[in-house]
C-alpha cells in the first residue's frame, strides 16, 4: 500500500471549509456517519505531489475547541484521541480573510495541542475588494506555521496547499502562546499530577465532557491532590483564556494585517438594508418561496414525462423480450414499475435540493433566521427552527439533525416534534400524482391551479407545524436557559461545484435509501398479488368462464376479468379487503389501503406500490398516471380518484406520520421512545380524522 497521511480540515462555520474540501478531493469523497451518532462524516482522498496520498476528513464547523453541541464534540474527540485511526498527521485550519481575527482563536487552540497545523486563508480573492493586505511572512513567524492563501472561487492556491500538506513533517509544533498563564498555580499542580500528559489537553478535558477513553474528567478530579475548581470558576478561567487569546491575536494582526476601510466596498450593507427590512424582508422571503415551488413544478415536468414513458417501454420490452415465466413477470410487473415510481421523482427532488443549497450557500438563510426569530418564538420555536423546517421540505431526517444548533432544549424538542409535518420530498410523489389526477390544469394570474394546490399543501404542512408547536409550548413544562447566537455571514455567490456536489450527494442518498425499501416492497407485493390461497384464486379461469359463459366476451375481456378476479383473491387482495372497512369512509378502496399500509415504511412507496398493484395482470402499455385515472370505484362506480377522495388522500398524507426512519431519528435525538410514539399516534390519528371529514364534506 502506498503511503497515506491523515489530514483533518477544521474551521469556523462559513469559512468555505467545504469548498476547500471539494477542491482537494473532487468526486473522491464519501459521506457517512460517525459510529454510534448521527453526525455526518465527510471524508475523501486527495493525491499529493510525489505519490503521497492524503485521507482528508472534513470536520464539522466549530468556533473553538469548547464544544457546545454534539457536532462540535466530534472535532474535540478526534483531536484529543491519538489512538483514533483518523487522528490527523496534520490539521488544516481554514479561515476566511474577512474574519481572520475570530478564526485565529481556534487556530491558536489547535497549536496548543501540538498538532502540526497549516493555516489556510480562504477567499483571498476578496482581499483587494475589502481593502485588506497581509504580511504573510510576519504572520507565519508569529503563529509558528505555514500559510496558504487560497481562493476556491478563483481556483488559486490549491496546488500550494497540497505542497504544504505533503511537507507536513517540516511544520513546527510549538504552541504560539502559553495558555497556562491564566492561572499559574492551578496549571502547575496539573502538570505535577499528570507529568506525562499534554497540559492543554488536560485543560480541555477538564472544561468539557469529552469521552476520550484514557483520562476522563472524574479520574482527574480523583487523582488531583490540589484544590479543584468549581464550574463557575472554570467558566471564568475560560473567559480569561479567550481574552488572552484575543490579546495575542490582536498583537499579531496589528503588524500582520492592514485594512484600508476607504477602499472597502460593502455589498452586505446594501443587501441587508432590503433583505432584513421589517416589511420588504418578509415580502422577498415569500416571493422566493413562491418562485421555488412554481419552478419545481414547471422545470421538472418534461424530464418526468420522459422517465415515465421510458419505464413503460422498458417494462414492455422485458415482457416481450424475455421468455415467459415467473421471473419475467416479477421483473416486468414488480420490480420495474416499482423502481419507476421512485426514479420519476429525481428531477423534482434534485431541484428542491438545488434551491435549498443555494439559499444556504449564499448566506441568505441566516437572514431568514434573523427575520423569523421573534415570530417563531410566539410558537415556542426559535428563529433557528426555520432551517429545520425549510430543510424538512427535503427530508425530515437531516432536518431533525439540523436542530442541534438550537441551544435551548425546549425549543429544540418542539422543533423536532413538529418538523415531520413539513412537506418532505417523499410526500411530493404522492402529491404530484394525485394533484395531476384531480386538480384541473388551468391557470389563474399566471399561476397554475396545480402549482397553487402544491403550494397550499406546503403551507398546510408549515401551518400544522406551527399550530402544534404552539400547543406543545403550552403543554410542555421544561425550563431551560435561552441562548440565541447566530452568525450573519457575508453574502456569497454560491459556488457551482459545491451546489452540484450537494445536489448529487443528497439525491443519491434519497434514491438509494428509498430505492432499497421500494425494491424490497415491490418484490413482496408482486408475490402477494400473484399468488393466493384456495380455489377462488387457483381456479379463477374456470370461475370466470362459467360466470360469463353466455355473454360472448372477447378473449381480451375474459383475460381482464380473470386478472382482476385473481388479484382480488390473492394474498394481497384478502389483506386489502380486510382493512377496507376502516378506510372506506375516507373514500379509498382496498388497493389504496395496501399502498397506505406499505407507506408506513416510507411515504414515497405509495406510487410504486400502486404502480405494482395496477400492473399485475394488466397487459396494456400504460403510464402510472393513466392506470390510476382508469381505476373504478368498486361501490359507487365512476372513477376512484375523484376530487373528494383525492383531497382526502392529500390531507391524509399531509398529516400522517408515515416514516419509520424519522421515528428512529427522533428516538435517537431525544433519547426516548416516548416522543416518537406520541408523534406516530397523534399525527396519524389526526390525519385519519381530517381525511374523513374532508371526504364526507366533499363527496
Amino acid at each position: 500500500m502506498s503511503k497515506q497521511i491523515n489530514v483533518a480540515l477544521i474551521g469556523n462555520p462559513n469559512t468555505g471549509k467545504t469548498s476547500v474540501f471539494n477542491a482537494l478531493t473532487g468526486l473522491n469523497q464519501k459521506v457517512g456517519n460517525y459510529p454510534g451518532i448521527t453526525v455526518e462524516k465527510k471524508e475523501g482522498i486527495c493525491k499529493l505531489p510525489r505519490g503521497v496520498k492524503a485521507h482528508i476528513i472534513d470536520l464539522p464547523g466549530t468556533y473553538s475547541l469548547n464544544a457546545s453541541s454534539l457536532d462540535e464534540n466530534v472535532v474535540i474527540e478526534l483531536l484529543l484521541n491519538k489512538n483514533d485511526k483518523d487522528f490527523p498527521d496534520v490539521a488544516v485550519v481554514v479561515s476566511d480573510v474577512e474574519n481572520l481575527k475570530r478564526n485565529l482563536l481556534l487556530f491558536t487552540q489547535i497549536k496548543d495541542l501540538e498538532i502540526p497545523a497549516i493555516l489556510v486563508i480562504n477567499m483571498a480573492d476578496r482581499m483587494r475588494y475589502k481593502g485588506i493586505s497581509l504580511d504573510i511572512p510576519h504572520l507565519e513567524e508569529q503563529l509558528n506555521t505555514k500559510i496558504a492563501l487560497v481562493s476556491t472561487r478563483k481556483k488559486n492556491g490549491i496546488v500550494e496547499l497540497k505542497e504544504l500538506i505533503s511537507n507536513y513533517k517540516d511544520l513546527s509544533t510549538t504552541p504560539c502562546m502559553n495558555a497556562s498563564e491564566i492561572d499559574r498555580e492551578y496549571f502547575d499542580n496539573l502538570r505535577k499530577a499528570f507529568p506525562n500528559q499534554l497540559l492543554y489537553k488536560l485543560w480541555l478535558v477538564i472544561t468539557q465532557d469529552v469521552n476520550f477513553g484514557k483520562t476522563d474528567r472524574n479520574e482527574i478530579d480523583a487523582v488531583a491532590n490540589f484544590k479543584t475548581k468549581t464550574k463557575a470558576d472554570l467558566k471564568r478561567l475560560q473567559q480569561k483564556e479567550t481574552i488572552k487569546r484575543y490579546q495575542f491575536i490582536n498583537n499579531t494582526l496589528k503588524k500582520g494585517q492592514t485594512i484600508d476601510l476607504n477602499t472597502a466596498k460593502d455589498l452586505r450593507i446594501k443587501l441587508d438594508r432590503i433583505l432584513t427590512h421589517k416589511v420588504w424582508g418578509y415580502v422577498i422571503f415569500f416571493v422566493i418561496l413562491l418562485t421555488i415551488f412554481q419552478a419545481i413544478y414547471d422545470w421538472s415536468s418534461v424530464p418526468m414525462d420522459f422517465i415515465d414513458s421510458s419505464f413503460v417501454s422498458l417494462s414492455e420490452w422485458t415482457k416481450n423480450g424475455l421468455p415467459e415465466g415467473a421471473f419475467t413477470s416479477l421483473l416486468a410487473e414488480g420490480i420495474i414499475p416499482g423502481l419507476g415510481g421512485i426514479v420519476i421523482f429525481i428531477p423534482q427532488i434534485a431541484f428542491l435540493f438545488l434551491f435549498i443549497s443555494v439559499l444556504e450557500e449564499s448566506g441568505y438563510m441566516s437572514r431568514v433566521v434573523f427575520l423569523m426569530d421573534r415570530g417563531m418564538r410566539r410558537f415556542g420555536l426559535s428563529g433557528k427552527s426555520i432551517v429545520p423546517l425549510i430543510s424538512g421540505t427535503a427530508c425530515a431526517i437531516p432536518a431533525i439533525m439540523a436542530t442541534r444548533n438550537i441551544e435551548n432544549w425546549k425549543e429544540r424538542l418542539i422543533t423536532i416534534l413538529v418538523t415531520p409535518f413539513t412537506t418532505c420530498s417523499a410526500r411530493l410523489p404522492v402529491y404530484l400524482i394525485i394533484i395531476s389526477l384531480v386538480i384541473p390544469e388551468g391557470r389563474f394570474l399566471g399561476l397554475g391551479y396545480q402549482a397553487m394546490t402544491l403550494m397550499l399543501l406546503y403551507l398546510i404542512g408549515f401551518g400544522a407545524a406551527l399550530v402544534s408547536a404552539m400547543i406543545l409550548n403550552k403543554i410542555l413544562k421544561i425550563k431551560s436557559k435561552t441562548f440565541f447566537v447566530v452568525e450573519m455571514p457575508n453574502y456569497k455567490l454560491p459556488l457551482f461545484k459545491n451546489v452540484v456536489l450537494t445536489v448529487i450527494e443528497k439525491t443519491k442518498a434519497f434514491v438509494f435509501g428509498a430505492g432499497k425499501i421500494i425494491l424490497a416492497i415491490s418484490i413482496i407485493l408482486w408475490f402477494l398479488a400473484s399468488y393466493g390461497p384456495g380455489d377462488d384464486f387457483n381456479k379463477a379461469e374456470e370461475i370466470i368462464s362459467t360466470e360469463y359463459a353466455n355473454q360472448n366476451l372477447t378473449e381480451d375481456e375474459v383475460n381482464e376479468h380473470v386478472a382482476s378476479y385473481k388479484l382480488e383473491h390473492s394474498f394481497l387482495g384478502i389483506t386489502g379487503r380486510a382493512i377496507e372497512p376502516a378506510i372506506r369512509p375516507l373514500g379509498y378502496d382496498w388497493k389504496i389501503g395496501i399502498a397506505l399500509v406499505s407507506s408506513f415504511a416510507a411515504r414515497e412507496v405509495f406510487v410504486g406500490t400502486l404502480a405494482t398493484i395496477y400492473s399485475v395482470g394488466s397487459d396494456d402499455e400504460e403510464t402510472i398516471k393513466n392506470r390510476m385515472a382508469g381505476e373504478v370505484n368498486p361501490i359507487l362506480g365512476g372513477p376512484l380518484f375523484t376530487f373528494a377522495s383525492g383531497i382526502s388522500l392529500l390531507l391524509f398524507y399531509a398529516f400522517a406520520m408515515q416514516c419509520m426512519s424519522t421515528l428512529a431519528i427522533v428516538q435517537r435525538e431525544t433519547n426516548s421512545w416516548k416522543w416518537p410514539i406520541l408523534q406516530l399516534v397523534i399525527m396519524s390519528g389526526f390525519a385519519y380524522l381530517i381525511a374523513l371529514i374532508a371526504f364526507q364534506l366533499l363527496k
Binding site: 473553538s64 469548547n66 434573523f370 440565541f484 447566537v485 447566530v486 450573519m488
Partner: protein, 75 residues
C-alpha cells in the same frame, strides 16, 4: 443607569466595558464579545428583537434578553 447593547440605536457604535458571564454563553465571547471591543447595531427586527450586531468585525444576531447583559459605553 448602566448602558447595554440593548440601548443602542440603529447605526450607533459603542465599546464593550463588561459582560456578565453568567448570562453570556462562552460561544458569544469566542466570537469577540469581550471588553474593549467595539459593537455596532446594524439592523433590528420588530420590537428590536433580535438585534443584528457587528462586534469587532463579526456579524451576528442575538436576542434582546442577551443584549441586556453586555455593558457598553456609547461612542
Amino acid at each position: 443607569m448602566q448602558l447595554t447593547v440593548a440601548h443602542l440605536k440603529r447605526g450607533q457604535r459603542g465599546i464593550i466595558t463588561d459582560v456578565s458571564s453568567i448570562y453570556i454563553p462562552l460561544k458569544l465571547l469566542e466570537m469577540g464579545c469581550l471588553p474593549g471591543n467595539y459593537v455596532e447595531l446594524v439592523q433590528v427586527a420588530h420590537f428590536s428583537d433580535p438585534m443584528y450586531l457587528n462586534i469587532n468585525g463579526t456579524h451576528l444576531a442575538i436576542r434582546k434578553e442577551t443584549a441586556l447583559h453586555i455593558f457598553i459605553e456609547i461612542l
